[in-house]
Symmetry: C2
Subunit: 195 residues, 2 copies
Amino acid sequence: MPEGYATGRATKQSIVESAAAAFAQKGFYGASLRSIAREAGVDHSTLLHHFGNKTALLLAVIEWHDSRSMPEELPETIDAEYIADGFAATAARNAETPGLVQLLSVLTAEAGAENHPARETLQRRHGLVTALIAWTIRTQRAEHEGHDDDLSPEDRAAVVVASWEGLQVYDALHPGQLDVPALVRAMLRDAFLLD
Amino acid sequence: MPEGYATGRATKQSIVESAAAAFAQKGFYGASLRSIAREAGVDHSTLLHHFGNKTALLLAVIEWHDSRSMPEELPETIDAEYIADGFAATAARNAETPGLVQLLSVLTAEAGAENHPARETLQRRHGLVTALIAWTIRTQRAEHEGHDDDLSPEDRAAVVVASWEGLQVYDALHPGQLDVPALVRAMLRDAFLLD
DNA sequence: GCAGAACTCCACCACGTGGTGGAACTTGAA
DNA sequence: TTCAAGTTCCACCACGTGGTGGAGTTCTGC
């Protein structure tokens, strides 16, 4: 069922992982296909055989990154607790893979430029997460009437996402100063009116 | 008193401005000295004559950026209102110069990598702003006893700075969706126990 | 075991990279 | 007006860039 041969798939995978590290360190523009290929132990033309061009490789890296954050199976009922736990788990896992966080931080910042090749992809990604959080906030507010937040669910969700990413960048620049997972967890439970 | 001739100083300035735009678009590694020099209307060896190497140019760009955010003169008494207004004014000015915001966002994200040439500079910059906010929070809490924040002034300040930067990145990726200056202002007034 | 698809590497291309050296020109204070 | 200091560009260097074409090898379904 999967495309290609097993050897090829393994090579692709190791290239993606090398690329993730390289983009995280040097950004999309600063990382070179040759250095990525060298790290993966293949010729750079092998890399191009598998991915066609540099932009396609970048998108493959993002896709791979996201696939790591998805839960294997969904529970029967989706509620705010479950979503909050899911995001908190992601935050905790991120803390253990600083390279991947660095990758997304740099790419997201770079993608603020209008002609960045991953801009659309990252916008969609962002939009999805924000929408999920906004939906959760909305349903939670409907159940708990007495909240005192003067931001709309969408705005609050955007602020949560932005703060989360900002905290990760802050943490990379000042390692060990903050307990990012705890702060994210607190922020989510606050936005979701939990406890 | 100033070093060099007037012509040289003018050239340096236009190089710095071109470099700021280029680093914002492509990051430190992705922007080339030749493209920066071309944009400034000089040969790339002229650029190197003035700045010596690429890293020195980057540091000059950051220094120039920061000099734009400094108030010309300090008031007689510094209080929380004044500081909050200062940051709010910066946030509002940032909204009108997206290129510079983009610059610092990309550089800050890149500087999460330990060997980035501007890492130390940006750490110090960050530390200064965070310390000022933390000091303000501390003095304000001493005056208004009944606050309900369970974060220390330092942690709260770090969260404020991180959220601020995250909001700017978010805004660059989703232009016009958020009123960033208003959100920053609200965040500061909240942290400073104002109103 | 065979055929054909998939894979991998080598050689090459045109061009861009940061940086150097030096020669010609411009500036501004004495 | 003089002249050293400052400024600018041109030519060059060794090397890195993303990408192409093709030849040789390895894998897998039949």
